[in-house]
């Protein structure tokens, strides 16, 4: 079993019962393989479905699914920070915006070819995330929440102010990436595949990151900072890295956003976006592998459906759901500590079993 899939179990509401049962120490070896195979199959089926979808759906649906993936990428980043490193960002949308605007500026003012903008936008967001992370992660998690909220609120007037670069309140309109002729794809399909590639990339990056030593250190900081410190892990350093990476991924998502929409304006990136993203990942499932994807669907479709009832309905739903989710796992993320510890043991014995 891989690390990330395992955390999935621990976060899902149903996982609570399972973790309790697991305490009796059922040997996971054989079952682990079965689950793994089943998961690979499901993953393959999902990818196949994803590749087939744009050929079966009308362009508007293709666009919607593209946006789901754009949000999912942003949520992969947010999940890394909140779900895996246990830190809170209320300004994830700001780093999303940084990526989106970097891309727009590079394409609009500098005429750079669009593929180049993807790594560059991610890099800009990474650097900014790192810079803000230095003061914000020195102390308790609360301060990161404060700083990121302040950033999210500050960003809109800032974007409006530097009109010559950002286009001010009017924003910037650009050409969306054209599909290469050999593909024979329509533009919406091409954008869809770009977003799909970005999504797969983001999932893979985080997957391997979490499997690395760094990922384990991050989990240990989340689960018990003091214990992590005793083991020689410097919490601030990992919190800062987690924040920088999560910003980087948000920046990459922002780049995909700009490609998909072909337009950026300050009012698309208000603090509401950040809060919506947080709602998405909390409802989708903190620390779970598929949480970002579910969150992306949620963020994309719930507002568009519920807005017919009332303009405020999405907010009411988001707010209530967030609170409800936190109740359903009453131990919150601390419960993860125990479950994750249990899981560490399980994997370790798992490995030994396999060796023997």
């Amino acid at each position: 079993m891989s690390e990330s899939t395992d955390t999935t179990e621990t976060t899902e509401a149903a996982g609570a019962a399972e973790a309790v049962k697991g305490g009796s120490g059922t040997p996971p070896g054989v079952a682990g393989y079965a689950v793994r195979n089943w998961r690979m199959l499901a993953l393959g089926a999902l990818l196949l479905l994803a590749v087939a979808a744009p050929f079966q759906l009308v362009p508007f649906r293709v666009f919607q699914l593209t946006m789901v993936m754009v949000y999912a990428v942003a949520l992969v980043g947010l999940n890394l920070l909140v779900g895996h490193a246990g830190q809170i960002s209320l300004g994830h949308g700001a780093f999303f915006a940084v990526g989106a605007y970097s891309t727009a500026v590079m394409m609009y003012h500098w005429d750079l070819p669009y593929p180049v903008t993807f790594p560059l936008a991610a890099a800009v967001a990474f650097v900014l995330g790192y810079a803000f992370g230095v003061p914000a992660t020195r102390l308790r998690g609360l301060y990161l929440a404060l700083v990121t909220l302040a950033i999210a609120i500050f960003l809109v007037p800032l974007l409006k102010r530097f009109e010559s670069v950002t286009g001010g309140s009017m924003g910037l309109t650009l050409e969306k990436p054209e599909p290469p002729a050999w593909t024979g794809l329509a533009q919406d399909q091409w954008l869809y595949f770009l977003a799909l590639a970005g999504t797969v990339l983001a999932f893979l990056v985080v997957h391997y990151l979490l499997r690395s030593r760094v990922g384990r250190a991050m989990h240990s900081v989340r689960d018990n900072e003091t214990a992590a410190e005793v083991m020689g892990v410097r919490p601030a350093s990992y919190k800062r890295r987690a924040f920088a990476w999560s910003s980087m991924i948000a920046g990459a998502a922002g780049c995909l956003y700009t490609w998909t929409i072909g337009f950026v304006s300050p009012d698309s990136f208000t603090v509401n976006l950040s809060i919506t993203l947080l709602a998405g990942i909390v409802v989708g499932g903190l620390g779970s592998t598929w949480g970002p994807l579910l969150g992306g669907l949620f963020v994309m479709f719930v507002p568009s459906w519920s807005q017919d009832i009332n303009k405020a309905a999405p907010g009411v739903i988001f707010g209530l759901l967030i609170i409800a989710v936190m109740y359903v796992a009453p131990t919150g993320l601390a419960g993860l500590a125990g479950r994750a510890a249990h899981w560490f043991n399980k994997t370790r014995s798992n490995r030994i079993l396999r060796k023997g």
Binding site: A150, I153, A279, P314, V316, A334
Partner: protein
Amino acid sequence: MADFVQQFVGGLGAGAIYASLALALVLIYQFTGIVNFAQGELAMFATYIAWTFIDAGLPFWLALVLTLAISFVGGMLIERVIIRPVEGAPELTLVIVTVGLFIFVNAAAGWIWSFLIKDFPNPFPGGALQAGGVSLAYSTLGVLAVVGGVMGLLYLMFRYTKIGLGMRAVATNPESARLVGIRVGWTLAFGWGLAALVGAVSGVLVAPLLFLEPNMMGGVLIYAFAAATLGGFDSPLGAVVGGLIVGVAETLAGSYVDFIGSDLKIGVPLAIILGVLLLRPQGLFGRAVVERA
């Protein structure tokens, strides 16, 4: 010089508003270790309640008293119903729950009163007090007087009443407070009620300056955070002093630093928060911040 003094006093007026929201944050933080991200939204909601009363023809000050009473009860209810189930949960959970509350209250206000901006009456007379070439707007003086009065009453309550003593005991050592027979749960609820009341004061005072709409308090909340960070999250006095400093700094930066102007003023609290975190993380009046185990 006269202009400077005028700006300075204007800054104090704005700062007094930030101070009252910051004080609301600090009150809750002290008792429960929770930073209530929904504090500004609760204040906004209270302001709508006040607006509804005024719109129905009630005199301003009566509407205010009714609003404060409703806020107090509402704050207590929120603690009992929404916060109680996650009491003692990790910080991440608490922050997320208050953010959920933030979103919910914001949207609920939009649902009930719509997102259109509303005019909120200024309770203070127009015009200004002229003194030595300096003109001080009555509304600024009025804000200072109201906030000063509220702070004074709070101080007296904490210092000289039994419930105040009990609250301080709960803030210092909840377990021990329970052992002397204090109903800690109700004391916490009382603290939330009080915080909601103090926050409502800031909402009602800021509404005439900003126009009333559901997102009115977002910016003010950031100023209040800066104030509480500057003063120290565990110090009510710090919140007040921090609020005044933030108000003055923001006003002076807005009028004397061309680059900042009125539209980038919201960067001032961000700079203050970052600066405090780098230089003096516990704030001016706070006890040294210890990483929680």
